[in-house]
Symmetry: C2
Amino acid sequence: MTSKRSLLTTLIVGSALFGSHTSARESDLLPSWNNGQARQSIIEFVTRVTRRGSSDFVPAGERIATFDNDGTLWVEQPMYIQLHFALDRVKTLAPQHPEWKDREPFASLLKGDVHAALAGGDQALLEILMATHAGMTTAEFEAIVRDWLATARHPMAGRPYTEMVYQPMLELLTYLRANGFKTFIVSAGGIEFMRPWTAEVYGIPPEQVIGSSIKTRFEVYDDAPVLVRLPELNFLGDKEGKPVAINQHIGRRPIAAFGNSDGDLQMLQWTTAGPGLRFALYVRHTDAEREWAYDRQSAIGQLDKGLDEAQRNGWTVVDMKRDWKIIYPFEKR
Amino acid sequence: MTSKRSLLTTLIVGSALFGSHTSARESDLLPSWNNGQARQSIIEFVTRVTRRGSSDFVPAGERIATFDNDGTLWVEQPMYIQLHFALDRVKTLAPQHPEWKDREPFASLLKGDVHAALAGGDQALLEILMATHAGMTTAEFEAIVRDWLATARHPMAGRPYTEMVYQPMLELLTYLRANGFKTFIVSAGGIEFMRPWTAEVYGIPPEQVIGSSIKTRFEVYDDAPVLVRLPELNFLGDKEGKPVAINQHIGRRPIAAFGNSDGDLQMLQWTTAGPGLRFALYVRHTDAEREWAYDRQSAIGQLDKGLDEAQRNGWTVVDMKRDWKIIYPFEKR
């Protein structure tokens, strides 16, 4: 009996300590976030859906959270990182394509005139993407992406792109997962451009990454099966494509969604239209000094209709300048 | 000190008991499997990839296992269950489609002549599927599937289809998950036909179900966003489509794959072609008394080329009659 009573005492004291420890940590949550409305709305939502017995309680398996990538988890200025990758690939592949010297959009690109190259609109962009993203196996493409990321640098910051991620959002991902959420990326970017590095950088495994894709074909060469990447669009995961992709890939509705542009609006609408407590958040780029300031008029990451909808629906809008103590992980002391 | 020592003693005795309990349980693993080569090959594989320090060790996150559904996890005779669903839907919808009385394949179906209806081959089948699987929202379709499964019965066994699953395979799924595997379904069946019940029946959540699909379109009606199911094939997840779907959905190669037909051959090839220890298993239907006996000549679930490949590559082949003590969960005492 003595030992049992001691054990019991240990457990009770232990719980009490643990309880007070948990409370103490409340103020340490999301340390790179200033304690404004945005931070509070996140913590309140997570607390409510995880509190057993609460009418807002959601079982762990159903705590699905989806995140846009470009402009929400990492920078998208002065150009989408995947576009930088494609432009670099054009230069690398140019010696094998002498015909590109006289053919747009490649001719302008090779002269260094990105603006003229992209004047051809979506068709020009698609040609660049297909010329640089198809024609190899999936394993080869993964190696190409890894190699490029290892040496590519952000043109203004001079840092690897995998460092140009938002520290407050990394903390948010960790906080959600610690509370039983399953975190997914739902991006218009290429699914196979993201998968080689999202586990290491965001803690999100390949099977929880959703994005745009081209078609692949299964082939067997000398007893070795491969998947060959074809120059044909399979799926475009932007705007209306995001709820479609979420349904196709996850098969249930998220209870929380995070974006930064009108391209994410339908994902936020789809998420908040479900029953029970829901959470939608827009990251608004308001910090011209530490990052960039852009929204309604921007060609990249335009946030116009989404901002109106956020105000109308009471969604959380993060003001980067006001709400984030630091932007990038390398600012941590 | 007394209480600490007591606690310590408790822990040590506890571990010792737990340790011997674990060993004792080895013989209790996969209880519906006879202790033949098939069972032993499974346990040996799982033991090797989970033993820390072993050269075959695979980290938990990378322990991906993919399962075919029809004929591998549940019965596919005398007809695919989803086909039974489609035929029942034709009957239910017939009053709204008076034109079906004079139009094949519906006319024959409504007269009860399935054979004549399906004489039109893939085109007839596709027409039946589109007429019965499209034209409603995803939420409506889910309710239709749930309602049907609640009342439909296997034509020979007279039981709900969700009871016509293989008990030994349920044990295998549980055993793999207990050893850190993430289990996926990769089926040629409809992804949204499976998702309403796979969590309950197999313990596999919607986001780990992969299958064939039709296209959907995002629409907003009176501020309510919905996904409408369109009569257009999006993806066919059979044969060469299985590795394509695995790459698209999971983004990494499984280390173990389980099937029962030539439709699974490419998935097994893709799985075993990766580096390190791999596992491939075919369920062979050899039990005409308790289930069905069919392989090389069967129109449903043909296993011909796959059987040759299995023998050539030393894959595990389950002989249902010999290897399984019971087939269905309801046989348990």
